[in-house]
């Protein structure tokens, strides 16, 4: 028996060392009390490695009652909101699917967080049965216990990058694309079309879940605001090129039927100007401010 315990102990040494390192670095602030690594470092590294885990844990640690959910465009809008108020939390993820938006909402409900305002950003590209990434579900599983958290590949990678940053003083940075803006623009539009519209089907189940979300918000007096982020004209044109004009109209009507909707994507004064965007699907700071003024003008 002793032999077994000794061998198991020896075998476990690398895991114990790893767990200690993760416990100290705690790249996603899972073990709240530990602040050995500065939050700015984690924000710079871990948030990029796994935004879902980072944001959900951050929200767990410091919940607010006003929440913005959606994809990268909601993240961008959060930057505009945070200039005016610190009472909001971002739970949007780059490249998020509608599944993930809804999973996030259901997680908030399950965990019984108090919510006053819920701002949901959805574009037509999310409203597709085939756009079904499900990282939120995996993230919930990942953060369900310390071992899943510690042994996730994201925790391992973030820990390594934070240590590397600490030891070498150098961190990996994302450089600017080496192509001209015009070429980058065209490539992005093409990629957007083939990624989101080449394969389309009406998301029946997602609409049911959205309706359930709207009913829940009504019942709990949560102010639910939908908004459609603006995209450059070229992005909207490819919807027609893929023969999805009617589906897009149906999407807008569906969302309208669920509650208050601000549709910035049909505002041609925004969508027709390339200068309003950093890339074809992401508006810039000035437009973010304009959207803020429009949504919150009476508040």
């Amino acid at each position: 028996m002793k032999k077994l315990f000794v061998k198991l102990a020896l075998f476990s040494i690398p895991f114990v060392i790893y767990l200690l390192i993760v416990g100290v670095v705690d790249p996603f602030s899972y073990f709240k009390s530990n602040d050995i690594v500065k939050i700015e470092v984690k924000d710079k590294i871990s948030k990029h490695v796994e935004p879902h885990l980072y944001k959900m844990i951050a929200f767990d640690n410091n919940p607010t009652t006003n929440i913005i959910i959606g994809d990268s465009r909601s993240n961008r809008f959060y930057e505009s909101i945070s200039v005016h108020s610190n009472k909001w939390s971002p739970l949007g993820y780059g490249g998020a699917s509608l599944n993930e938006v809804l999973d996030t909402f259901e997680w908030l409900v399950d965990k019984e967080f108090k919510v006053d305002t819920l701002l949901v950003g959805i574009n037509f590209n999310l409203y597709n049965k085939y756009n079904k990434r499900m990282w939120v579900e995996e993230t919930i599983e990942r953060k369900s216990n310390p071992f899943s958290y510690a042994f996730s590949s994201y925790t391992a990678r973030s820990t390594f990058l934070i240590l590397k940053d600490h030891i070498t003083g150098k961190s990996d940075t994302i450089g600017k694309p080496k192509v001209s803006r015009a070429k980058f623009w065209d490539t992005s539009v093409k990629r957007y079309g083939s990624k989101f519209y080449a394969h389309y089907a009406y998301p029946e189940y997602s609409f049911q879940r959205l309706s359930a979300m709207a009913s829940y918000c009504k019942q709990k007096n949560i102010e639910l605001i939908f908004w459609i982020p603006p995209c450059a004209k070229e992005i909207n044109d490819i919807i027609d090129e893929y023969g999805l004009t009617l589906e897009n109209e149906r999407f807008i009507n569906d969302i309208k039927s669920l509650g208050k909707l601000h549709d910035f994507n049909s505002d041609e004064s925004i969508t027709s100007q390339r200068d309003n965007f950093t890339d074809p699907s992401h508006f810039n700071k000035q437009i973010g401010e304009k959207i803020y003024q429009e949504i919150f003008k009476n508040k």
Partner: protein, 485 residues
């Protein structure tokens, strides 16, 4: 409590320490601990059904004792029938009541008589099919004079509820497992290490292969209309991997955990996908169930003896019942029917026992002929799995119809990419290949990871790799498929 959960990772060492250090004074104490641990293990799922296990235990314990006292054949038969009736009624009620009700209503509506009867909201107790068959083996073997009844209720209760195999087998025979509860168990280092290795391999199969394949299988089977035939073929193959790794993974963990406590359970899977024909497949797949049916149903019916008609009848009976055992759905019955169809030609041409040994024994690779036989058997089983996995028979036929369309020749890459799990499929396929290689190398052993590497460094490196894969590929936890049976 799931084997692949943190709860179990805490539960197992606690019971292990108590078993070997606190309750090790005598067998009775150890058995009492095992009953308590098993009831706790099961009760965490739903404590109400503990009464059902206790009831089954009391009934079969009492009937076993009465069988030993009665000498008259008719009395003994009556007692056996009582045991069968009680156990199978419980199973029938919890598992098949709504199914029979629906089938009854459907049959009448087919003939133009419409009526409705309210379905009952019945929860299927986890593992009921497994422990029912295990306790039945006890009374049947006593009736047949193969086993003497036991007088120690605690030992019998441990046998019925033994937590490693309570909810998904292997379905142990009383003649094999029960006597082990009366023998003094001594800790054995090699046996424990072997047990731990088998647990590790079971976890790898479940967490890495089965749970990750499930993500694709669930999506492909739910949205089959939207995918190319080639993608549906991948879905069926992935399901073959999923169900094998899920179920045999569970068995590996169960057998490994039992070894930690000094028990030997029967081998439940013997590398079935390396079978060269369907008969061999059935000798290697879910061995504890197929031998149960063989001994308690097929042979009493006459087995393969008798005329052509009897052979055909018995083959269909055993496969249909086996299908029905899996669940209250016609898809399982049809799956059994298909397997009977695949098996029958071998039986009728006396070729059902052609492949008794290990394939390509003492060779690194199989011959061309063996490779062809293995692949064709695998494809036949994949075809049958479509019915097993589908929600209904029409769903399965639609799925197959779509496979047979011109879309079979279209690339599945775009389809797979819409499932949108990034590079997970690439890692999964690489790990599947690793898994097949490891299983192939150890195909003559009791389980896939019974390695014989002399170098400790290499051995440990392999274990670290497997553990890391389990952690890094740990996505969405899926319940063991066979829990529902």
């Amino acid at each position: 409590m799931l084997f692949n959960s943190i709860d179990f990772a805490i539960f197992l060492p606690v019971v292990f320490v108590l078993y070997w250090f606190v309750f090790n004074k005598n067998i009775r104490f150890q058995n009492m601990l095992l009953v308590a641990a098993s009831y706790f293990f099961y009760g965490l799922w739903d404590w109400r059904f503990l009464f059902l296990i206790l009831f089954s235990t009391i009934i079969d314990f009492s009937i076993g004792k009465l069988l030993a006292k009665k000498r008259h054949k008719s009395h003994r038969k009556a007692l056996l029938i009582s045991s069968l009736a009680v156990n199978l009624s419980l199973l029938g009620f919890f598992k098949y009541y709504n199914f029979f009700l629906d089938s009854f209503v459907d049959t009448f509506s087919f003939f133009g008589t419409f009526f409705s009867i309210d379905r009952l909201d019945i929860i299927l107790p986890v593992g009921i099919s497994f422990y029912t068959f295990q306790t039945l083996s006890y009374t049947i073997d006593i009736y047949r004079g193969k086993l003497k009844p036991v007088n120690d209720f605690v030992a019998f209760a441990s046998f019925v509820s033994f937590f490693p195999q309570l909810v998904a087998g292997p379905i142990e025979r009383a003649t094999n497992l029960l006597p082990q509860f009366f023998k003094r168990r001594t800790f054995n280092y090699s046996k424990s290490v072997d047990g731990l290795q088998q647990i590790l391999w079971g976890l790898f199969k479940k967490i890495v292969i089965a749970d990750n394949a499930a993500v694709f299988v669930n999506d492909i089977f739910s949205n089959y209309q939207d995918y190319n035939g080639s993608t549906l073929v991948i879905g069926a193959i992935f399901f073959a991997f999923q169900i094998y790794c899920d179920f045999s993974g569970y068995s590996d963990i169960a057998i490994g955990v039992s070894r930690l406590f000094g028990f030997n359970l029967m081998q439940n899977f013997a590398f079935p996908y390396f079978s060269r024909d369907i008969a061999e497949f059935w000798r290697r797949w879910h061995i504890s169930l197929s031998t149960w049916f063989r001994d308690y149903l097929y042979i009493p019916l006459g087995g393969s003896k008798g005329g052509l008609q009897a052979k055909i009848r018995n083959t269909f009976i055993i496969f249909l019942v086996s299908g029905f055992w899996h669940g209250a759905n016609w898809t399982f019955v049809f799956w059994g029917f298909l397997n009977a169809l695949f098996f029958l030609p071998l039986l009728l041409s006396n070729r059902n026992r052609n492949n008794l040994g290990v394939v390509a024994s003492n060779r690194l690779l199989p011959s061309f002929r063996d490779t062809f036989a293995i692949l064709s058997t695998f494809l036949l089983t994949c075809f049958a799995w479509i019915f097993f996995r589908a929600d209904s028979i029409s769903h399965a036929f639609d799925y197959i119809k779509r496979i047979c369309s011109e879309t079979l020749f279209k690339s599945p890459i775009t389809d797979i990419w819409t499932i949108n799990t990034e590079y997970q499929i690439i890692y999964l396929v690489i790990l599947m290949v690793f898994f097949v290689i490891v299983e192939w190398i150890h195909r003559d052993k009791q389980y896939g990871l019974r390695i014989n590497i002399k170098s400790k460094t290499l051995r440990w490196a392999l274990f670290y790799f497997i553990i890391l894969s389990c952690f890094l590929m740990n996505g969405i936890k899926q319940e063991f498929i066979y829990f529902q049976f």
